[in-house]
Amino acid sequence: MGDAIASSGTSGGFARGRRVASLAGAAPGDRVYRVVITAFALMIPALLLLIAVAIGVAAWPALSAAGLSFITSSEWNVQAGKFGAAPAIYGTLVSSFIALVLATPLALGVAIFLSEIAPKWLRQPVAFLVDLLAAIPSVVYGLWGIFFLVPMLRDHVVPFFRDTLHLGNTPLFSGPAYGPSMLAAGVILAIMALPYISAVTREVLIAVPRSQRDAALALGATKWEMIWDAVIPYARSGIIGGVILGLGRALGETMAVTMVIGNRPEISASLLAPGYTMASLIANEFTEATSDLHLSALMAVGAVLFVITLIVNGMARWLVWRVASGPKS
């Protein structure tokens, strides 16, 4: 048989199909497969629901005891059983705001540089270095913050603002500068948010169609005018989405902030004063919490943080999605 096959160019009847007698079959494999992947997919909503319910239930005693004063009161006194999270909420918002103010122009600059200006050979390495910022663990940022950033801000940057720029009398730069401060937290968060904002911005800039650029150049615009008047407006809501995404990251950041912010539950106008954030409040007190109400209050802080990031991320996604699905309105 083997010889016959080898000698003939064709099959010698090899491929002759058998007459079909039955088409029955149906192994249960596909049904099992469908059930399994659906079950895996359902784990995501289940997990989120579990998180929301667990934290909601655990937070309830503190929330119902404090009522609205939980977010308006500044008194966080464990002994007295008073839990007002306003300083932590304030600190979270302010430190993240500082981060955005510092990181946004920088990220925009880098993204423009990488998508429009840099020579080809420079793009990859610079993009790689900036992206790498996102890979550094937050505890390492914290360590670096304690031993390098905080002393540097205290010894060089703050004197520069106070003495050289004579801003010492403004509320923002008043009071003693011990080191750990809202400013330090904002700066470290800026560094951490930078890669997220610049990555999204770079993507949306690259997605701007050629025709937008050509139209501007044809009108005699300089390269910068083309970028600023044609490219950026087209990508605007995507960029805002990236910024808000960075905000989402900054709001929930825990370790680095805990290590440099000073952890004091007070509201102060000065950037040089220590502060607190919701995440660092939880990180600091959770393992030491002994009373049920204290634990519940910390869970409630987690719940507030959960809700805030939910809103912020929802907004970011909506904006990015709007750019992806067509030009800005």
Binding site: D30, Y33, R34, V36, I37, T38, A39, F40, A41, M43, I44, L47, L50, I51, I55, A58, P105, L106, G109, V110, I112, F113, L114, V126, L129, L132, L133, A135, I136, P137, S138, V139, V140, L143, W144, I146, F148, I191, L194, T222, K223, W224, E225, L251, G252, T254, M255, M259, A279, I282, A283, F286, L298, M299, G302, L305, F306, T309, L310, N313
Partner: protein
């Protein structure tokens, strides 16, 4: 004429500013790496990898328990995050626009945006509080939950890159759907999924916040899953905020090791073989 000159000067100035931005943006990374090497390298002897932490006042010592603990935590997290993430990714890629798929995709993004400390208190509530003790398992599960949305997303994206013609070819050959997914689609998307999985591992390897009240940390050698376990990030944190110079040095060395681990995983992710779809691509 002077208006034109002013515009041109503005152009040069603003373009120059973007160069400044690029330099400023890369500076922190260079600083951090420099300080890690400067302050951590001298402590990083072979002892650091083989010795246990020593009490205050005794020089030397290492983080062997924390390094092993971190590896164990990563393993637990991967054992949870990979199957769930890949399974959910398969579902999303197959069901694309279905109502449940849209919901799951959205909620996966929500989960991804959740602060890691929130996952920490969640895991504490479910896995620590009822049992009355911290455990490696609780920490690993919290990290695993963080991995799920990351793995889900890359799996879906990579599967969508596989040309539909391959799926059709397998079905036309009499492959059942599950077999088509496993032997053809998943197999073709594998390099991309491996990259995604490694990126997810790199991201959770350095996480500290979800471990604070779950794995908790441990000064002693422990590999038991239902006991507190040491972890590199926890150890770095504890040493960094301590008042002792000796411990600060240990923290820098630990951070250097952690960064190297994360960088190795990240580089491996970049170089995981790029997916080949050959001429079958549409």
């Amino acid at each position: 004429m002077s208006a034109l000159r002013r515009r041109k000067a503005g152009n040069v100035f603003m373009l120059g500013l973007t160069y400044v931005a690029a330099v400023l943006a890369t500076l922190p990374l260079l600083f951090i790496l420099f300080h890690l090497l400067q302050k951590g390298a001298s402590t990083l002897t072979p002892d650091f990898f083989t010795n246990m932490p020593r009490p205050v006042g005794e020089a030397g010592g290492g983080m062997s328990n924390a390094i092993v603990g971190t590896l164990i935590l990563i393993a637990i997290a991967a054992a949870i995050g990979l199957p769930v993430g890949i399974g959910a990714g398969l579902y999303l890629a197959e069901k694309r626009g279905g109502a449940l798929a849209m919901t799951v995709r959205y909620l996966s993004d929500v989960l991804n945006g959740l602060p890691s400390i929130v996952l920490g208190i969640f895991a504490w509530q479910f896995l620590v509080r009822p049992f009355g003790n911290f455990s490696a398992l609780a920490g690993g599960i919290a990290l695993g939950a963080m991995m799920i949305p990351l793995v889900t997303r890359t799996t879906e994206e990579m599967i969508r890159l596989v040309p539909n013609s391959l799926r059709e070819a397998a079905l036309a050959l009499g492959y059942p759907r599950w077999r088509t997914s496993m032997s053809v689609i998943l197999r073709t998307a594998l390099p991309g999924i491996v990259t995604g999985a490694l990126v997810a591992v790199a991201r959770i390897a350095g996480e500290t916040a979800p471990l604070l009240f779950t794995a908790f940390g441990n000064q002693f050698w422990s590999t038991t899953l239902d006991e507190p376990i040491a972890a590199l990030p926890l150890q770095i944190f504890a040493y960094a905020i301590s008042p002792y110079d000796e411990w600060h040095k240990q923290a820098w060395a630990g951070a250097l090791v952690l960064i190297v681990i994360v960088l190795i995983i990240s580089l491996a992710a970049r170089h995981a073989t790029r997916a080949r779809f050959g001429s079958a691509a549409d």
